[in-house]
């Protein structure tokens, strides 16, 4: 058991911070083979020392994983740590020190098109501000800090910078510097915090484990500066004129998906005769033009669509039924409706467990909990609301839902007991030694719409036209 308690687990980031983190670890003699941008592995073993292991996560998963005690130590951007701490102040995660890398800041920014040029200008106006962000809790903290009188926050999975000015007034987002924001047509109002790489530890591990062997190696790299939310006002620049041409406002607004759903959607739209430029092929234009002069098209993440359609930023969108369902479970009164099942992009939403788990149905899982063989069911899922409802419907108690940002399969078996995720062929499940114990539903691409838009005399004719056009393409 002594060995077990000395075993140290690290959560390491993918993406932006990966190259510097890999260099840092190599430099202090804690290198992990396979920790590179090309890796398809999640679990990493260290050659020396042997008591160390690591797993690769999306940055935003790391503070959560460390605070629930799945990992002793983690490295990720300060932005994601503060996103957790600003709402869950009592999280069991301790910031040990920032590291000397990790560029950029979290900014609150407004479109250059706006008449508002600084914070005082913003506060001097009455408005029900729409704030869009990948960091909804930092966004709320920002609004409260500047004593914004009325605001609404729209969490998004994709790039928040694409939303202002037409779909939100303010974006809270990461950018390398103010110049990068300018290139996106955004004017910074406030710098919330630096997105520095930071070493964090689980409070429980700090109290009960000897982490010195690892922390000592880091010591020379730690700058022992503690950064936190600082809400620094950005001085306004005079005379800057927006450089990005913004698409003119069209009568009917349609959102199309990027990512996996983009190629089949492009193919489908081509078949029904909607001619879009730059929606398929090498270069994806986030504002593809279309040969209907009343139709405005924008490309966003399918996860974000139901909420965006509900709020009237778009009248129509092509997304997956999975995301529509996840939205409707969370917000039953949402004015989003499914208009057409487009049939393509079929996936199954499944519940799966590790092959090693002695369970082949949800009833077996429930029994394991009831008999105390599992203290709590840890469930990893991208679909938080579908997952929640499913677990309640199956009288599972107690459970902990761990939100993931894709690749839930990597959480099993050590960091979660069950996953609820989509599956196309079952290949990934097999590769990760998982077995499916239930199919929750099937999901295909669908056209969704805003109830109000559909019934608006102003848009009805055009929306009917689109629906008819798409119906013509159904096989």
């Amino acid at each position: 058991m002594a060995n077990q308690s000395n075993y140290i687990k690290l959560a390491l980031p993918k993406g932006r911070l990966l190259p510097d983190t890999a260099n840092l670890l190599d430099g202090v003699g804690l290198g992990f083979e396979g920790y590179s941008e090309q890796t398809r592995q999640y679990r990493l073993k260290s050659a020396k020392p042997p008591y160390l292991s690591a797993k690769i996560f999306w940055e935003k998963d790391i503070p959560i994983q460390v605070s629930i005690g799945n990992y002793d130590l983690g490295i990720c951007g300060l932005d994601w740590i503060e996103e957790l701490l600003v709402r869950y102040k009592a999280s069991a995660v301790v910031k040990l020190s920032t590291l000397n890398y990790g560029e950029g800041y979290i900014y609150a920014a407004i479109s250059y098109e706006s008449e508002i040029k600084n914070l005082d200008g913003l506060l001097g106006r009455q408005g029900n501000w729409r704030i869009v962000s990948e960091y909804p809790d930092l966004a709320e903290a920002f609004a409260l800090n500047i004593r914004m009188r009325r605001f609404r926050i729209f969490p998004v999975w994709g790039d928040a910078g694409g939303y202002p000015p037409e779909n939100a007034e303010i974006a809270v987002l990461w950018a390398r510097n103010e110049e990068e924001l300018e290139r996106k047509g955004l004017l910074p109002l406030m710098k919330l915090l630096p997105a520095r790489a930071t070493v964090i530890a689980s409070r429980e591990s700090l109290d009960n484990k000897d982490l010195a062997s690892v922390l000592n190696r880091f010591a020379p790299m730690l700058d022992n500066r503690e950064f936190s939310l600082s809400f620094e006002e950005v001085s306004s620049k005079e005379g800057f004129v927006g450089s990005l041409p913004r698409p003119e406002l069209k009568k009917v607004k349609l959102a199309l998906p990027d990512g996996h759903q983009q190629p089949p959607t492009a193919k489908f739209l081509e078949r029904v005769g909607l001619n879009l430029s730059h929606y398929s092929g090498e270069v994806l234009d986030y504002h593809p033009s279309v040969d209907l002069d009343w139709l405005g098209v924008k490309v966003i993440r399918p996860q974000d669509m139901p909420l965006q359609v509900a709020n009237g930023n778009f009248d129509l969108a092509i997304t997956g039924k999975d995301w529509l369902l996840d939205h409707v479970y969370r917000f039953p009164s949402s004015p989003v409706v499914e208009l057409l099942d487009l049939g393509f992009g079929k996936v199954k939403i499944v519940a799966a467990v590790s092959q090693e788990m002695p369970a082949s149905t949800m009833e077996d899982v429930r029994q394991l909990l009831q008999k105390g063989k599992l203290p709590t069911l840890r469930v990893a899922s991208e679909y938080v609301n579908i997952g929640d409802k499913y677990l309640c419907d199956h009288h599972i108690s107690p459970y902990k839902l761990i939100p993931t940002w894709g690749a839930s399969e990597a959480f099993l078996p050590e960091d979660a007991d069950l996953l609820i995720d989509n599956m196309q062929t079952g290949k990934t499940m097999a590769e990760h030694n998982l077995k499916i114990i239930d199919v929750l539903c099937e999901s295909t691409a669908c056209l969704i719409g805003n109830k109000e838009s559909i019934n608006s005399p102003d848009k009805k004719e055009e929306i009917d036209f689109i629906i008819q056009m798409m119906r013509g393409g159904l096989s």
């Binding site: 600003v86 102040k89 009592a90 914070l119 005082d120 729409r130 709320e140 903290a141 609004a143 409260l144 800090n145 004593r147 914004m148 009188r149 009325r150 605001f151 609404r152 926050i153 729209f154 006002e233 909420l307 509900a310 709020n311 939205h327 969370r330 917000f331 039953p332 009164s333 949402s334 004015p335 989003v336």
Partner: protein, 410 residues
């Protein structure tokens, strides 16, 4: 067994509830006599109700239990009531237009990090909407006094400050609007250092500030020690100071005890005039003040208003449980459940005792804890044993009228 209760939440057991109801009843009686009427607002409100006036500090708002409910697709967050006064002001604006005196008993939610202190706190509050200074201020101070006296809370200390005076002082420092807001935020969050850092470029004013902030005592002393600079101060500062003095003078005339403590305006975010804090045995048991701008910030025409609240949780701890009705005259009635005649006799005896106003608990299983004055055991249709637990006396009687006679029921 591991507790299933939510962190930071509290159960109120019968003894707690006994005290709670005593406080509530005393409070209701007092307020009703002063012409106040009871209202109740919902537990859930929109977050924007509390951000709209810009009066709550960011640190206070960050402790609000805010979330998206099932209607939250529009991004509209709701909160569990984080403050007592703002919902009452909303209720007033939506329903009434003439001066109104309200009271309420309500719970306030604030996220306290450790989970060791209560996150749900009860308070008994009073709001006088349309009540102008200084008369309404004095009315509230006297009402608070009377209430705590009726509750039997001893050693009550009333500390008085003036938010209008403090705000006017900060204004004199010549800060930018955002720095001024930040400074006020720190002061309201109870950051003492903020007062120390406060410096203007007027030496006389700085001297006044130091003497004012550090002063503790009565009006007579205050007038001697705290002197407004002869020139260079704003009319706002002067009028707030004279309002404060007016109120204190009235309190002196009415022989109401108080202590001036200007720096103690922690948590009084929307206040514009007098601020009161009530202490007993070193613990804060209530607070309130004047908030003349709140209603106009909420979109109504400007209207004077003031209020205060007594914090139920610390007051409960200060009360000793009085002898209650159970131990004074209550009856525990015991009988053998297997004998149908006995059961019948028990129910009918209980019925007649209850209609005579007694508390009667039936105990067929013999498991009840006997904290009643009387224990009556029924062993047969015509066999009753009565014990007076207060005196230790015991009777054995054969008829119901005899039982009733011994219990002293008319």
């Amino acid at each position: 067994m591991e507790s299933q209760r939510c962190k930071g939440m509290r159960d109120l057991l019968p003894d707690d509830m006994g005290k709670f109801r005593y406080i509530e009843d005393t409070f209701r009686n007092c307020c009703t006599k002063w012409g106040y009427r009871e209202v109740r607002t919902p537990s859930l409100e929109y977050l924007r109700l509390f951000t709209a006036t810009g009066t709550l500090t960011p640190s206070r708002l960050s402790k609000a239990y805010s979330f998206l409910d099932w209607d939250g697709w529009s991004g509209e967050r709701v909160v569990l009531r984080p403050d007592g006064t703002i919902p009452i002001a909303r209720l007033y604006l939506e329903n009434l237009s003439f001066p109104a005196r309200f009271f309420y008993v309500t719970d306030i939610f604030a996220f306290e990090q450790t989970g060791k202190e209560n996150r749900e706190r009860w308070q008994c509050g009073v709001e006088f909407l349309g009540g102008a200074s200084p008369m309404a201020d004095v009315e509230l101070l006297l009402l608070a006094h009377e209430l705590l006296h009726s509750l039997g809370i001893s050693g009550v200390q009333l500390r008085l400050s003036h938010a209008g005076l403090a705000k006017a002082l900060v204004k004199e420092l010549g800060l930018s609007p955002r720095d001024e807001a930040r400074m006020l935020g720190r002061i309201l969050d109870g950051d003492w250092q903020a007062w120390k850092e406060a410096k203007s470029n007027n030496l006389e004013l700085d001297k006044f500030l130091v003497s004012l902030v550090n002063f503790k005592g009565k009006l007579s002393d205050f007038l001697k020690k705290v002197k407004l600079p002869a020139e260079g101060t704003s009319p706002e500062l002067e009028s707030n100071l004279s309002n404060f003095i007016d109120i204190l003078r009235l309190l002196d005339d009415l022989k109401c005890d108080y202590q001036i403590d200007i720096a103690a305006i922690h948590g009084f975010e929307y206040y514009t005039g007098i601020c009161l804090q009530l202490f007993s045995r070193g613990e804060k048991i209530g607070g309130g003040g004047r908030y003349d701008e709140l209603l106009s910030l909420m979109g109504s025409k400007s209207m004077p208003a003031c209020g205060f609240a007594i914090y139920v949780d610390p007051v409960i701890k200060m009360l000793s449980l009085k002898e209650d009705e159970r131990s004074e005259s209550g009856v525990l009635l015991r009988g053998d459940e297997k004998k149908s005649r006995v059961v019948e006799a028990c129910f009918s005896l209980a019925q007649s005792l209850r209609s005579a106003g007694r508390i009667v608990e039936l105990d067929f299983a013999g498991e009840s804890v006997a904290d009643y004055r009387w224990v009556v055991s029924v062993s047969g249709e015509e066999s009753f044993v009565i014990i007076d637990q207060k005196s230790g006396e015991k009777w054995e009687v054969r008829t119901l009228p005899q039982v009733v006679g011994i219990l002293g029921v008319d």
